[in-house]
């Protein structure tokens, strides 16, 4: 093994470790919903190559309004799926789409793009 091979091997292994950590282990952005005086829990979510915040905490038995602002026109994020609530919505680019739901049971519900590449979680407490 020459120097170049050694460097490539070390660099490669380090990069693999970094990729694993970056996507699987690094902490996520968590946001709790803000209740308006009408009792609706509102969260603003920006959609741009992903959802930020991507972990949303809400209380159960209170109506939730998720305001998705799609800040891009990349086709990947054009659909929003919240399968546990039977929701499939098209998010028009550069517009806010409000998604309303009423979580009855505590639990973690995933929301994703149409192809399950972008993902976020709705944590009902």
């Amino acid at each position: 093994m020459d120097t170049a091979q050694l460097l490539v091997t070390l660099g490669g292994v380090a990069l693999m470790g970094f990729v694993g950590w970056f996507f699987f282990l690094a902490p996520h952005q968590v946001a709790a919903a803000v209740s308006s005086s009408t009792g609706v829990q509102q969260v603003d979510i920006t959609v741009k190559g992903g959802y930020s915040p991507d972990v949303i905490e809400v209380e159960k038995d209170k109506p939730v309004q998720l305001n998705f602002y799609r800040d891009e026109d990349n086709s990947c994020s054009e659909e929003l799926l919240l399968p546990d609530f039977n929701l499939r919505r098209e998010l028009p680019p550069f517009q806010t789409t409000a998604v309303e739901l009423l979580p009855r049971q505590a639990g973690t519900y995933e929301f994703t793009c149409g192809m399950h590449m972008l993902r976020g979680k709705l944590v009902v407490k």
Partner: protein
């Protein structure tokens, strides 16, 4: 799904109470008011705004009700006034109104995006076609001798840049945006793959001597970069075209809605947009017109084509008091109806909502694919890195870098998470849409998956196998009876409100019996009725009625009655002028379609079981008629769910087919509930599948559709998994040690572009499926 209590500003503003001035009323949701003085402040600010007649602000509901003159100020102006006062107007982004509200803007944007995609693809193709032969000049040494290698490289660089920066820009932007959120998608893979190939080529072009000093050939991969982008864009163009078609069914449903309605306002007929209809309006419908919304016929009669809602191709006769539904087509007559439902409450809107919800639901079969796609892209990146390291370590020294790079790029490009992601949802979208066309409303993907597993169908007899209303099946006149016995009988029964009487009248009408007048009608409690027709006393009722009147049956009628009773029919006895005249057999008749549908289910290997509240004799007779071997008789409504459980305990996957409210617990208990007929709302809630047509053919359609959809899903998932599990190792060069095969990144790009398109195409095949 929860519908917010927020009033929707998109709804048409209600007309104000003021009769003269053309004012409108708007309701604004105000945010940021913390105290009573705030609401006063907002109220004053609004009231002072020119064009506003009156404004009231409710602190508790955070709503401002504003009466304004539309000619002077609009909603945006009101909003501005509130914002100037330091508060916010909350505008829900999506109108919570009808799902039928047109999405023209969305469609337009999509069309724009599609046009742009095609332009980007066009540019990439044209340039790639030029770049490819230029990169292959080394195949002709004589030509090569005359061209300077560095110059050629710069020319290629110049040609590739637009492909990368214009056509492929989106991949890089999206990958970067994703990285900021720690997510990775197909774009990440493409950006990494093409980016690596391009950067290496760039370095080789700008600083070839660095490579030479290391003993490396300064090779460029501009053709790879450009071709990959062109091919992936081709895939995207095809995919986008196909995706539009997956939702075609629901678009078609939404497009069914009528645009205008002819209403009677202040005694005059006026055409107005359907959005302006109000409950209680009287709407006129002429032949050939669409019904604007749901209502009840006030006057007139006609035949309506309801196939768009029910899948039933024959027109349905309707008259005064019958319900009509928006989007159905009036065929023959003209009628007037009263509006009972509007917008989101109409049958059409409910169907659209149900289909939309089903299309948003997740099939249990998809779980594995979801788990895989969640980690897919990062794992592929790691595999690609490992590929690079291994090739670099084990390939011959002079080619190790280029081989490592090419295989690294191939792995990134061939991986297709899209195929995994598209496999199930596209099939479900097409399948549920197809169902809606056929009058089969599937509640969610889980119901579809359950329907596929069903091996036993439990039918509630009344209203399902049978019509659910009595009909005259036999009319046996005595040898001595006058020819107009039936007409005389019908004249008496026309006065009665008994359901059996209605059956007799229907029968007489169908036979074309004359209409006679009856006088002195008298009901004989629990026995029958009598009246005088054409001067003769006519009696109709059960045996007791005749016995009480001391009328005995001749032998032929006696025989006929005994036969009818043996067939579990209800027997009516008729006497005219004190003489026995006829016997009639009345029974709940089997629907014309039931026998064929049940046989069809049995041919599919499904056991059909019947359940009824009737006695064993009647049950046996109906079961024999339709070819059912197993049945439960004398089942009380409360025990229906228990019967479902009993079958489930035998290890069966049971589909329960029922109609009324008392079937709801059984529908819910079954593995799959099918509510038949346009049904009650309760049954629809409890049922996994709602059949808009009131016959059993819908059950056959539902099960056939679910089987075809599930087969498509399985094919898609199989293809997606196999494609990725075979494609990635091959691209990594796993076959090289044995066969010497390597996969060019350009071939990888072609495979990847075709893989997601083939999944979509397979799903679209469902549209042509025969169900």
């Amino acid at each position: 799904m929860h519908h917010s209590a927020h009033s929707s500003p998109a709804a048409p503003p209600a007309a104000s109470g003021a009769p003269a001035g053309p004012t409108e009323t708007a309701v604004l949701n105000i945010e940021g008011m913390t105290c009573a003085s705030c609401s006063n402040f907002v109220e004053r600010a609004l009231s002072r705004t020119p064009g506003v007649q009156r404004a009231t602000v409710n602190l508790a509901s955070e709503k401002a009700t504003v009466e304004f003159v539309p000619a002077q100020i609009d909603r945006a102006g009101l909003k501005a006034a509130v914002e100037q006062a330091g508060y916010q107007v909350h505008e829900p982004a999506t109108p919570a109104a009808s799902p039928l509200a047109s999405s023209d803007e969305l469609d337009q944007r999509k069309a724009q995006a599609y046009a742009q995609l095609k332009r980007r693809f066009g540019v990439a193709v044209v340039l790639a076609v030029i770049i490819m032969p230029l990169s292959m000049l080394m195949l002709w040494p004589s030509l090569m001798a005359r061209v300077s290698m560095p110059v050629l490289n710069y020319v290629l660089l110049g040609l590739t840049l637009p492909v990368l920066l214009y056509s492929g820009r989106e991949f890089f932007v999206s990958a970067w945006n994703g990285l900021r959120h720690r997510t990775a998608s197909m774009d990440t893979l493409i950006a990494l793959g093409t980016g690596a190939a391009f950067l290496y080529s760039l370095a080789a072009t700008v600083a070839p001597h660095v490579f030479m000093r290391q003993g490396l050939m300064p090779e460029v991969y501009y053709d790879t970069t450009a071709t990959i982008i062109a091919l992936i864009l081709l895939g995207k163009v095809l995919e986008s075209r196909a995706k539009q078609r997956t939702s075609a069914a629901i678009k078609a449903l939404m497009g069914l809605q009528a645009k205008t309605a002819r209403v009677i306002r202040h005694g005059q007929e006026v055409d107005i947009p359907v959005e302006e209809l109000r409950l209680g309006d009287e709407v006129l419908v002429r032949p050939g017109e669409k019904v604007a919304t749901d209502g009840i016929i006030l006057a007139g009669r006609s035949a309506l084509d309801e196939s768009m809602l029910t899948g039933e191709s024959l027109p349905v006769d309707k008259t005064e008091g019958d319900a009509v539904f928006g989007a159905t087509l009036n065929k023959t007559g003209a009628f007037r109806f009263r509006v009972t439902k509007l917008g989101a409450d109409t049958m059409l809107a409910q169907i659209v909502r149900l289909v939309e919800e089903a299309q948003g639901s997740r099939a249990p079969i998809q779980r594995l694919a979801d788990k895989v796609s969640a980690v897919f892209v990062p794992v592929v990146v790691i595999i690609a890195l490992a590929t690079f390291v291994l090739w670099f370590n084990f390939a011959p020294e002079n080619t190790r870098f280029s081989l490592a790079l090419v295989n690294f790029v191939a792995v990134l490009i061939i991986a297709c998470p899209c195929a995994l992601g598209l496999a199930t949802p596209t099939a479900i979208m097409v399948g549920t849409g197809k169902g809606a066309e056929k009058g089969v409303l599937i509640r969610n993907a889980e119901a579809l998956e359950k329907a596929y597993q069903v091996n036993t169908v439990l039918l509630d007899k009344t209203g399902t196998i049978t019509r659910g209303e009595p009909a005259v099946t036999d009319f046996v006149p005595a040898a001595t009876a006058p020819a107009d016995t039936l007409a005389q009988l019908a004249a008496v029964e026309r006065q009665s409100e008994h359901p059996l009487a209605a059956a007799v009248v229907r029968y007489a009408d169908a036979q074309g019996a004359a209409r006679l007048d009856a006088a002195g009608f008298a009901a004989h409690e629990g026995r029958g009725a009598g009246a005088t027709v054409a001067g003769q006393p006519v009696l109709v009722g059960n045996r007791r009625l005749l016995t009480e009147h001391a009328i005995s049956l001749p032998a032929d009628l006696e025989h006929a009655a005994a036969q009818l009773l043996a067939q579990a029919k209800t027997v009516l006895y008729v006497a005219v002028a004190g003489q026995p005249a006829a016997v009639l057999g009345v029974a709940d008749t089997v629907r014309d379609t039931s026998v064929a549908a049940i046989r069809h289910l049995q041919q599919e290997g499904i056991e059909v079981v019947m359940m009824t509240g009737d006695n064993a004799q009647t049950a046996a007779e109906v079961a024999r008629q339709v070819g059912i071997a197993r049945y439960f008789a004398e089942v009380l409504p409360a025990d229906k769910a228990a019967k479902v459980k009993e079958l489930q305990a035998e290890g069966r996957t049971v589909a329960m087919v029922g109609d009324g409210i008392n079937d709801a617990p059984a529908l819910a208990q079954a593995d799959l509930g099918l509510a038949i007929g346009s049904g009650t709302d309760v049954a629809m809630e409890a049922a996994g599948i709602t059949l808009m047509r009131s016959d059993l053919q819908g059950v056959v359609t539902a099960i056939a559709l679910s089987r075809q959809t599930m087969r498509t899903i399985k094919q898609n998932l199989f293809f997606a998994f196999v494609y990725n599990t075979l494609g990635i190792p091959v691209a990594a060069g796993l076959l090289y040690p044995f066969t010497g095969w390597l996969l060019s990144p350009m071939l990888a790009a072609a495979a990847m572009a075709l893989s997601s398109v083939s999944v979509l195409t397979n799903s679209l095949r469902l549209r042509a499926a025969k169900v």
